[in-house]
Symmetry: C2
Subunit: 504 residues, 2 copies
């Protein structure tokens, strides 16, 4: 005798909610590790994390869950639209978690852990050759993973699907290709412009305590809720959530560079506003979870770049910045400041890149990792391919692998298919911003007056509240009416840099 | 066929160590709740805590554990001394956890939770009558608990045994009685002395940032290791450990009162030094766990009072305090300061009491809770009995129940048998301090020169490293050669107050 679907649905959701209690506790262990943990406590913390991860994993592959999902999937006609989407997403997670043989999961975990250790050393020694065998192993395991999961056209599809469900490699490649074709000449024209911003004003002295207060003030003003969140200090800033009303963002302070903490805080606050905008009543369930990494990144980029690097934003905030940092900004005009924070300069390092060149760093990584997965590029040939693309797209020549192919942790940690979500974030952000303006009118007028609530509420309703009801590409199309494309981002960049660098 | 005891012992220890991973994670949830949690996140945090507590409890009553313990208990001759003590203590925990019927455990948990809520309101409204029915219920459940656990002479034995194993009510009553008989006249003589310290100097202005820096400096100087610990801010200071190398102490700052944070920090640092002195290789197991609450408290009291309120300690630190708090202490002499931090004044509130009267607050609570357990005192008659004892022992008359019987959370939370461990801590501390001096020579000479390491190392070796190998009373006797007694504490108090108040 079959159980009533609504009872089964309840059992399934209760199970998943209980797993979320453990998963969010695991997130606390990790947050604390990166913000508060005494130096000597790392080893035991790893053991605690392994223990909790094990419990979470056990529950996520619990056969009961599989049975409930099976039963509900075949009774879909008796489910509401929301229930049906919930079951679909839980099935997706369950299938991904159970499709991989346990031995492969373990091998991947070990290779990623060893890979990171090996990478740290290789980067320090500028010695790609010592890292290559480990990377080869990881590439081979990721190929096996893709094969075990299955894919429509190419292996990379299966990996991309983990981070951006519903997007295909082919579509992403087309859009990034189009973007690249327009970005390369834009960046080159910017470099040749006679008007160049004076960026040294951002490298004066900015006391940490003032940066702290200002970052908190600005992030609260755009809508990050400090009764439901915190801001702490860490080495590599991140955003995490430890419950439906507990979102924690992090930053780091550099007293000799204005940008790192302020724009980092705006970026993480954008992630945080997304997490805080999710449905609390669906916490732990798909409809209360972020849609995709690309959509998540669209929210951080939107607040960091489209809002936080806009002229109207600083019309409102620059006087306050001048008061706080009177020594550094006393003799600086708004226009000088605005040009400086938007300066474009091709460079070697992704995480230090500006809004325009950032995407070129991503495109390079995407093309290389796709080629590795498709067996079109051997690990041995990676450094040369990397350097060639940096010359072609950015016009810079990595002097060492430490400043080149060894700079990012991702591949050593087994993250393939992750990089493009950064650029998807930029692309979605521009499209979503345009859609918001189409509905709310010119947002700059509001920003000038310190009004960020209308945009936040619009994002809450349109982007945050659906959770995982739709895939990233579906959600974006539903809101903007358009497929993913490079046009909105390019319009935004050209308009901004036209103002700063003259006709480019 | 029986398994080899050494294999069983390993299985048992692995099981307990894994439980410790969860227990310490639970401790992180609680630490974070009291120090960092955003205001809106409390409800979900309770759910996380309930979930982890459930997992810890499940494991602690796991029948496998019971079987291993049973098997090892009957093969004791094949165990080493350490193994045998480990099994004995694990058996004790297991028996206590499994002896109580599940229904009683649940009723106690509910009554304690409701009791605290009810108590908060009753204290706010100064309305003992509204709390009485709840307290009656708790008292009745605690009697049932004592009956279920079993006891030698009186119910209170079973409750005291939870916090101070190996101590009997009769012994504790005798010692506290003797102490009371000498303390009451001492306090009264002090009150009548013509020499009275000027305590207003401690109520000047002490900037939080300076208090923070000074507290950290002093706690590090006495031996709290900040590479294996932290100091954070909270409402009700506590010490907790989240792993073998992760001990966290907390404090609160009052800019108008020097004592609260500094002596609070020394107190918690004393607890912390104990935790940090336990054997890391036995973490989670009895030999790596604190001996008893009384011994734990002896370590906090020792550093707070016997070290931190001594003249030699301040010979070393007062010049630094004068530099940090130049406005407040610029015109204060060391003798004035020393007298002020040791002022004795009978008062209504336990947590604000000085070193001498503190024990009278405890004796009152011990006598009353013992009488309630033995059905010699009805809950209805508690306020009158309370007030009478305050008049008799301290010469003060509680104007309201909020300042009297309703001041402490303990009884509302079902904590009976807990209070005397505070005084046991003071008694053990004096005896241990004397034993340390017998071995190391006069410690004051060292403190004057800022040397605290010899005492810390002595405590590490003698008090900390044994863990739960012996009971509190056994351990103290082994170290000091004496049974628990009031003499050492009285000698210490008389000598100190003789210096400050003249012949008392």
């Amino acid at each position: 005798m079959q159980t009533d679907p609504s009872t089964t649905y309840q059992q399934l959701c209760d199970h998943v909610r209980e797993t979320a209690l453990l998963r969010s506790t695991l997130a606390l262990l990790e947050w604390d590790q990166h913000t508060k943990l005494p130096t000597s406590a790392n080893q035991y913390r790893s053991n605690q994390i392994t223990c909790l991860s094990g419990l979470v994993h056990q529950r996520s592959v619990d056969p009961h869950k599989g049975e409930w999902i099976e039963q509900l999937s075949s009774a879909e006609d008796q489910l509401s639209g929301e229930q049906s989407a919930t079951v679909r997403e839980l099935k997706r997670d369950f299938d991904r978690a159970t499709k991989l043989p346990g031995s492969l999961v373990e091998e991947l975990a070990r290779a990623a852990s060893e890979g990171q250790t090996c990478w740290v050393e290789a980067r320090k020694q500028n010695d790609f050759a010592s890292f290559a065998p480990q990377l080869k192993k990881i590439v081979s395991l990721k190929r096996q993973q893709a094969d075990a999961i299955g894919f429509a056209n190419e292996r990379y599809d299966a990996l991309l699907d983990e981070y951006e469900p519903g997007a295909t490699t082919e579509e992403v490649a087309t859009v990034l290709n189009d973007l690249c074709a327009e970005l390369v000449p834009l960046v080159s024209a910017i470099q040749e412009s006679k008007q160049q911003p004076e960026t040294s004003i951002l490298k004066r002295h900015f006391p940490t305590s003032e940066q702290q207060a200002f970052g908190r003030e600005v992030s609260a003003a755009i809508g990050f809720d400090y009764e439901r969140g915190r801001l702490d200090v860490t080495h590599h800033p991140f955003c995490t959530e430890l419950g439906p009303d507990d979102c924690r963002i992090t930053t780091r302070y550099n007293e000799s560079f204005f940008n790192s903490s302020l724009f980092g805080t705006l970026h993480e606050a954008g992630h945080g506003i997304y997490e805080q905008g999710l449905r609390s009543d669906q916490y732990g369930l798909p409809l209360g979870s972020y849609c995709s990494l690309g959509i998540h990144e669209s929210q951080s980029r939107l607040w960091e770049n489209l809002v936080g690097r806009s002229l109207p934003f600083w019309k409102h905030f620059f006087p306050q910045a001048q008061t706080r940092f009177s020594e550094a900004f006393g003799d600086v005009s708004l226009d000088q400041f605005y040009a400086a924070i938007n300066a474009v300069k091709p460079s070697l390092i992704r995480v230090e890149a500006d809004e325009a060149t950032y995407n070129l760093h991503i495109i390079i990584r995407f093309e290389l990792e796709r080629a590795m997965m498709n067996e079109d590029l051997n690990v041995e040939d990676l450094p040369a391919a990397w350097n060639q693309k940096y010359r072609d797209y950015l016009g810079v020549d990595p002097p060492t692998d430490a400043h080149g192919v060894l700079q990012d942790v991702h591949w050593s940690a087994g993250l393939f298919g992750y990089f493009p979500t950064y650029s998807l974030g930029n692309l979605y952000a521009s499209q979503l911003f345009d859609a918001a303006e189409a509905e709310l009118g010119k947002l700059g007028k509001l920003f000038e007056q310190g009004q960020f609530e209308p945009l936040k509420v619009w994002l809450n309703e349109n982007v945050h509240q659906p959770g995982k009801r739709f895939s990233g590409p579906e959600l974006a199309k539903q809101i903007t009416g358009n497929d993913l494309g490079h046009e909105a981002l390019m319009r935004h960049l050209k308009s901004k840099y036209g103002g700063i660098y003259g006709s480019v």
